[in-house]
């Protein structure tokens, strides 16, 4: 950010406050209406509505800011994010969605605990889920810090502190008032705030603006041939292994993220649940077709102005490239404000979902499940509230000195999910013989593999090569699956009750 930007921007700030407040108000109205109607997300929601809910549940600062930033920096490697974060839904739909629904357990720890008949496996998966939430949230906090820095004209560390206070107040208020999320409204705001500024940007720069997703290609033709080559050639910036490893990690991570898996229980009927995935994926793709356009326009503006930043500077500003492109492209300030408001609402919604899930896991799976089985509801609630603040503090401490780009931090959370939760669900659903010894070994190995590069990579170079921190699940998830199978075969089969349930109810419901 250059110094001239260090002033408070009133109009964008007002827009942001209005958008975030309107979510709270609509949520409160929705709550009043909902309590008089029957149940959660009744049939009137429909498949398209549920698809929009899947998409808005998914959209975060990583989609809104991080993806364009990563593409701006890495060109073709950035497409591994686009593919990883959409292709993961194919895995989820074909391998898990219908079956976990028939299994009937709502959270990752509940599923793992029940399927493997083991409080220990449940505890490990709860701790892993909490770790995933914290890492994912840290990336969101970085996004919030960047947007607050722009809105208030503050340096990053002050902005992330202010942002942390704001988002925690938002979460606590929404939680204490029982605000329902209106995810259809949220998706509508997100898509408009992302695509409309992009259309105007394309128009201002003189490209096909009705579908800027197709228009940005022409901009690519106008940067220098050397730069274009380094940006679009498949192995200019990364190897085939690096590309595939990142892509695959994000895919299995998508299919193993606890807050994504639990979405399938909200839709009342399973056929609608399956079709809502198609709509959800389509709505996600709409945003992902657009994100690279911001990056390309930012590169074009740099080329036109004749100052190309050196790699270190480019890396430092990559995560705010969406805002930079919009500002330097000459969009009116209020429209940049709309963009910032969209990014903040995505980040706020993701943080509130993740912190609440993490805190519920602390209270339900760890405190009540293991330490104090007889705890009262009141006591559990207090523990959950305390945990929300504790987790937020941990997230804040990570985010103050962000260890990487938004996409990189997010990718570590996906790698952890792909190395642990994904194998536990995949084998739990599709192989009756998988037992608790196998999955406990597998999940612990998965944690080790995820953090192998920083832990062991210095001493054992091939570890860092095979299990890069952001992409460890490419070799990691298959390894965990093989080890889980081997350990399961060496130890006794799980109880007959569970294997029978799997055979007759999860896979034999229509026999």
């Amino acid at each position: 950010m250059n110094m001239s930007d260090l002033h408070i921007k009133f109009v964008p700030l007002v827009i942001t406050v209005v958008v975030l407040t309107s979510f709270l108000l609509v949520g409160l109205l929705y709550k009043v209406r909902e309590s008089s109607e029957y149940g959660l997300g009744g049939r009137s929601t429909g498949r398209i509505g549920s698809g929009a809910a899947i998409a808005s549940n998914w959209m975060s600062a990583a989609s809104f800011l991080g993806m364009a930033g990563f593409f701006y920096l890495n060109g073709y490697l950035g497409l591994a994010c686009v593919i990883g974060w959409t292709g993961g839904y194919v895995l989820l739909l074909t391998l898990l969605a219908g079956q976990i629904r028939r299994f009937g357990k709502y959270t990752a720890p509940d599923f793992v605990g029940e399927r493997y008949d083991s409080p220990m496996a449940r505890l490990i998966s709860a701790l892993i889920s909490i770790a995933i939430s914290v890492i994912y949230c840290a990336a969101q906090f970085k996004g919030i810090g960047i947007l607050f820095g722009w809105l208030f004209g503050l340096p990053y560390d002050a902005a992330v502190t202010l942002g942390a206070v704001a988002v925690i107040s938002y979460v606590v208020f929404a939680g204490s008032q029982g605000v329902m999320k209106n995810q259809k409204l949220q998706y509508t705001i997100l898509i408009i705030s992302f695509v409309v500024p992009l259309m105007l940007l394309a128009k201002k720069l003189g490209y096909f603006w009705i579908l800027p997703q197709f228009g940005y290609g022409a901009a690519l033709a106008q940067v220098s041939p050397e730069f274009r080559a380094s940006f679009t050639l498949p192995f200019a910036g990364s190897s085939l292994f690096q590309w595939s490893a990142l892509c695959f990690t994000l895919m299995v991570g998508t299919a193993g993220l606890p807050h994504v898996l639990s979405r399938f229980y909200i839709v009342p009927n399973i056929r609608d649940a399956r079709w809502s995935v198609v709509w959800g994926l389509y709505f996600i793709a709409l945003i992902y077709w657009s994100a690279p356009a911001y990056a390309v326009f930012a590169r074009l503006l740099e080329a036109r102005s004749g100052v190309a930043p050196d790699p270190a500077t480019a890396r430092g500003m990559a995560d705010m490239i969406v805002l930079t492109a919009a500002t330097q492209g000459g969009l009116p300030l209020w429209l940049v404000g709309v963009l910032a408001a969209g990014g903040l609402s995505a980040a706020f919604a993701t943080v509130s979902g993740l912190l609440m899930t993490g805190a519920a896991s602390c209270s339900h799976d760890i405190y009540a499940g293991l330490l104090h089985p007889a705890a009262s509801e009141y006591r559990k609630m207090r523990v959950a509230k305390g945990c929300t603040l504790l987790l937020a503090l941990v997230v804040y401490l990570i985010a103050v000195n962000p260890p990487g780009l938004i996409v990189e931090i997010t990718a570590v959370a996906f790698a952890l999910a792909g190395n642990t939760i994904f194998p536990a669900f995949l084998l739990g659903i599709w192989w009756g013989r998988a037992n608790r010894q196998g999955i406990i070994t597998g999940m612990l190995l998965g944690v080790l593999v995820t953090f192998a590069a920083p832990l062991l990579g210095g001493r054992i170079p091939w570890v860092a090569t095979l299990f890069p921190l952001t992409s460890s699940a490419f070799c990691g998830a298959p390894l965990v699956i093989l080890v889980t199978i081997a350990v399961s075969l060496m130890t006794p089969a799980p109880p007959e009750r569970i294997r029978r349930f799997l055979a007759t109810e999860v896979h034999g419901h229509l026999d």
Binding site: Y76, L93, P234, W430
Partner: protein, 108 residues
């Protein structure tokens, strides 16, 4: 319920009937998913003429983009949506065929 005969669930040796159909379509879709995603990158590797990966797909443009960028960045997400539609249509029919009750989907 407890009288129902059962055999161990194994993706590689599915039971005949509903589960067999489910595994079949899942394999078909996953081949389409992995083949297009990783197969295309592998193909680019085989066809590369420079270390940076210049190949036949990077040389011609499609929708204003080098073909490889268009295929990966724009076509693949659409391809995933299509695969999901095919999967759902097949499972819908499979469920109907295997349902002996009047309101099939409530029991899926």
């Amino acid at each position: 319920m407890s009288e129902k005969p059962w055999s161990e669930v194994n993706f590689l040796r599915p039971k005949k009937g509903y589960m067999g159909g489910e595994v079949l379509i899942t394999l078909v879709i996953l081949i389409g998913w992995g083949g297009a995603t990783f197969g295309f990158q592998l193909l680019q590797k085989f066809l590369e003429t420079t270390p940076a990966g210049e190949n036949i797909f990077t040389r011609f443009t499609f929708f204003n983009l080098p073909f490889n960028v268009w295929f990966t960045g724009q076509f693949l997400p659409l391809w995933f949506v299509l695969l999901c539609i095919v999967f759902n249509l097949y499972i819908d029919r499979l469920t109907e065929r295997h349902s002996r009750v009047r309101y099939p989907y409530e029991h899926e």
